[in-house]
Symmetry: C2
Subunit: 320 residues, 2 copies
């Protein structure tokens, strides 16, 4: 019986690398592997790399698998099971990735957008386990989102839902790469954040951030800001407060629209920890409608390392 | 058979008046009635008025009814069928309105938040008939919203979903009555709009709006702005463009989050017609993510007069 099989293969497909791992139904990784995507060589090469990774991991392990879950960038069509126009994977228009892998390995294969897979991962293995409904937001170069309503991923009309990073918090705000203005990603996405910090450092020449990078401002990363925060740097604290306000403002709008009040926050930038989380929480509570205020919960994601592999494998436990 | 019964009673409960009507399954009103709510006398008096209205309309008509639908302000709990803390109905904490009316008249009774009822009305009788998923937004003193996904109303965890009016379009924006800042209602809700127009008229002394109200600025209403627009008033055109930008910015965020791209716009302010609609459309298309751009549709609501009665009656055809 498929139900007795306690392991699944998770494939985290990215523009730079493909990460694969066999994961138990408790979310433990048994074995894992990482290959370059070779994205610049086009979709056929990327698919070759995925197949090669799966073959390697299958031949190295005798564990029986329930299925394969793939988290992919871009829109994953519900009806057609295709991966469409993923950013960072040039040449992909519509690829029936699930069918290709399923035919090759004779294992039931599920494909999902990577941000949705992250949310499903938190639901099956992580901080979302005891919540019927929550919003997952992943802070990184991009700001991704996934919406879980009554233990189901909300996919919208065509599978493109959950783009919290492209909700605008200022209709006259800064330009975002997506073409719109004032998107929350245009404030707290890694690159935007870095540029804003660099711009504001001119007025804050005493900040410990400059010391930490030996005045080489191009070296500034969210982790440097985290280190400065630990050293009680006033400027770093201001940056984190701004981020909390910006993220919180977007999430309060999400809450008022969706009547969901639990938020799970993951990704590198979430490493700012409680100073960021408490500001996000305070902002959401101040800005949601009264009936929601008491219910607001802001939690750190539980899946940290290998969140992509675990989230992808969770698709198998979720869907089958 | 209940399915053969082609009429339902719609009750539109408001802070000032209760409007009732018998409506056919094609959305035609057969007979209607309006009573004062007497809201200031508390919930028992309001319920007495509702019962009195229903009794009058039932005794005046021999038409067999499929059920009663009530559109009420405030949050309508899914699980308990209660109306909770409706604004403009003082003293209502949690009232089991559906059960009270059903027991009294022995007719299946459905209660729903009024903005959700408006969306269901458009789905059953109006512009939403041929759309699986759409967002309904009602522009008035408040800015209400309803979300239809795959022909079902989206109610969220506790039935409070759809508060598009309280999505923020500027996280540093003007104060809204709800306690948050930059809510779209704080820009285009009737009273906010009026105050903004009055403030800006100082710099636009030649506007025809002033002529139309004989310089009595307190007389300014959205209808006056509509009249000035017809007279090609430049300032009125600017106001309408601003509104279109503000509404469009909020709806683009909704679209990116929910992957829904059809919008139906109702309420008094929507009477600005095509100048407002085209600006909303243009803003949404410019600001949604690429896969959504081609699909954006902005439609006027079809139910205009008696939309509240029709939407409430639609609950019966929708749910039974």
């Amino acid at each position: 019986m498929a139900d007795k099989i306690k392991y699944a293969l998770g494939v985290d497909l990215g523009g730079t690398s493909i990460k694969l791992g066999i994961v138990s139904n408790k979310g433990k990784i048994v074995t894992k592997l990482c290959l370059p995507s070779n994205a610049e060589k086009g979709p056929l090469e990327v698919i070759k790399q995925i197949k090669s990774g799966i073959s390697q991991i299958l031949s190295a392990s005798k564990i029986k698998l329930k299925g394969i879950g793939i988290g992919a960038p871009g829109t994953v069509s519900i009806k057609k099971g295709t991966v469409e126009n993923p950013p960072n994977l040039p040449g992909w228009n519509k690829i029936q990735l699930g069918r290709i892998i399923q035919n090759e390995f004779k294992l039931k294969t599920f494909v999902e957008n990577d941000a949705n897979a992250a949310a499903i991962g938190e639901m099956i293995f992580g901080s979302g386990k005891n919540h019927n409904s929550f919003i997952m937001i992943t802070l990184g170069t991009g700001v991704g989102g996934g919406v879980i309503i009554n233990k189901k991923i909300y996919r919208g009309e065509f599978g493109a839902a959950g783009e919290i990073g492209h909700m605008s918090i200022d209709f006259n705000g800064p330009q975002c790469n997506c073409g719109a203005v004032g998107c929350v990603e245009a404030y707290v996405g890694n690159n935007y954040l870095k540029h804003r910090i660099i711009g504001q450092l001119e007025n804050n020449p005493g900040s410990k951030i400059l010391e930490l990078v030996n005045n080489e401002i191009e070296m500034i990363t969210p982790i440097i800001v985290q280190e400065a925060l630990v050293l009680n740097d006033v400027f770093a604290r201001m940056i984190v407060n701004d981020m909390g306000l910006q993220i919180g403002a977007a999430l309060a709008s999400v809450s008022n629209l969706l009547d969901v009040s639990t938020f799970i926050i993951g990704g590198g930038v979430s490493g700012f920890g409680e100073p960021l989380f408490s500001k996000i929480r305070e902002t959401i509570v101040a800005r949601v409608l009264t009936p929601l205020k008491k219910r607001v919960k802001v939690l750190p994601a539980k899946l940290k390392n290998d969140a992509g592999i675990k989230g992808s494998s969770a698709l198998v436990f979720y869907k089958s």
